[in-house]
Amino acid sequence: MGLVEIATGKVLSSFSVFLFLTVLLLVVARRISTSVLLFSVQSAIIAAGVFATGFQERLAEAYVVGALVLLIKVIVIPRAFFSLVERLKTSRDVKAWTTPTQSVFIAAAMIYLSYAAVHSYGQAVNVPEDSLAAAVALILTGAFLMVSRKKALMQMLGLLVLENGIFLAALTTTFGMPLVIEIGIFFDILIGLLLMGIFTFRIRETFDHLDVSKLRRLRG
């Protein structure tokens, strides 16, 4: 077997493990820049998975999608985040409702939950359990990040992790959707992030802070 075949085989069988590690580290990260770095590592791992899938299934479209993931999620979006953090001149601390210990236990529970969920549906689809469980764990982690972090930027990051999870789920079950749809989804995400960036600036200007837990004027 050629070296590339071995490499793709190993990537496919082990990348979910590294994704779980990024999940655990994401929930304990204490600085925004660390979280963004972990997100880009996560996206790089997923891009590697896309390329490996493309090679194994002989799908030319997968290479395009993988390149898009690499370009947008590993390079462009983290760069935009870093520059946003600088321009907003906000403190670099991730204000969280939970302590790191509690967060990591919750993350461990979520990983267990995702395995349990995938196990019960696993008979319907014959896909590697690990990758699908990693996808569900990413979705749960994204939701957890959005709920447990008080900073607007971290909510955006949680959304991105959630979308990573959905993308991974699509990748493992159906080897991706038609190319046009994938491109459209990427485009949507980019514009969405742009708008959220605009809104964070507005929040900062109107409220003078970025703590979304204090946005509670409208109630009832």
Binding site: S14, V17, F20, L24, V28, T101, V104, F105, Y112, Y115
Partner: protein
């Protein structure tokens, strides 16, 4: 023949410990763009200490005097547990990993008692902090080893190493990654390295391990320093043996042993480089954040144990 090699392994760990410490110091110096001391410096330090006079505080009892000896004895016993060049060791079939963990605890217990016995305030402070750190580190230590032993279906270190030797390197197992992460964090805590404790600090209020040995001098201090160096070396060797033992000699021939030794030195160098990078790059955690750090290690190791159920690999 096997027995001779086992003795050789133990000697490598015990006698090579100051060298390991010296190499780490040199690597840290290079990363921080300094020259750093020579890698043989710890040997010179030990020799110097053995020549000096042993001063004992007037209020100290026999505990103070025999604590270094117990510490060194326990740590040497731990060093006899760990395989280096072949998948067996001197005491490997005498006990399982629980014995290893609690031998370390025995040494640490006596050191804390000795520090309290010395009667100085910093000794007491260091001892109480050490008690906190070691209590919290015990759970992830045990759980990480439990996870690996469940997979290996062996409780003794030699059995675990043999099992890992038969695994394919590329079938990376989630359990192993998680167990390695948590055990690495525990090693940092147990050996008093950053970010839990700064081994080169001179500010007494920030000391944990160094605070406990403030009152010691002369040969007693030499024994304690040597023991902590052996602990570091043995734990590094344990990590290598449990998670990356490939290349260990299966036969007793000189070439196999030589090759295994070379491979061990390479792996140890990699781990030491990693340690040096972490030590230079991370700031020391404030004391109230150390439980968080160890809590993360506990959760990761608990997850590793849970994963042994989910992942049949």
């Amino acid at each position: 023949m096997k027995m001779a090699i086992n003795v050789l392994q133990a000697l490598i760990l015990i006698l090579g410990a100051p060298l390991a410490r010296g190499v780490i110091g040199k690597l840290k110096a290079w990363i921080q763009r300094r020259q750093g001391a020579s890698i043989w410096r710890p040997y010179a330090d030990l020799a110097k200490l053995f020549r000096k006079e042993d001063l004992v505080p007037p209020s100290a009892s026999w505990v103070f005097r025999c604590a270094p000896i117990v510490l060194l004895g326990a740590t040497i016993a731990v060093a006899a547990f760990v395989p280096v060049v072949q998948p067996s060791a001197l005491l490997a079939s005498w006990g399982d990993f629980f014995l290893l963990v609690y031998l370390l605890a025995l040494g640490r217990f006596f050191l804390s008692l000795g520090a309290l016995d010395g009667g100085s305030a910093f000794g007491g402070m260091g001892a109480s902090r050490e008690a906190l750190v070691s209590t919290l580190a015990e759970a992830p230590f045990l759980l990480g080893l439990v996870a690996v032993s469940i997979l290996a279906a062996h409780a003794d270190i030699a059995g675990m190493v043999t099992w890992t030797l038969h695994q394919n390197f590329f079938n990376v197992s989630a359990v192993h990654i998680l167990a390695f992460t948590s055990l690495a964090m525990v090693v940092l805590a147990e050996t008093g390295r950053m970010p839990v404790d700064n081994p080169t600090t001179h500010l007494e209020l920030t000391m944990i391990h160094e605070g406990m040995v403030l009152e010691y001098s002369g040969p007693s201090l030499a024994l304690i320093e040597w023991a902590s160096a052996i602990k570091l070396h043995a734990l590094l060797a344990l990590l290598i043996a449990l998670f990356g033992p490939w290349g260990m000699a299966s036969s007793g021939s000189v070439e196999a042993i030589g090759l295994a030794l070379l491979l061990y030195c390479t792996k140890a160098a990699v781990l030491m480089l990693l340690l040096a990078v972490i030590e230079s790059g991370v700031a020391k955690l404030r004391m109230y954040l150390v439980p968080d750090f160890l809590g993360v290690a506990s959760a990761v190791s608990a997850l590793a144990v849970i994963f042994t159920m989910l992942v049949k690999r």
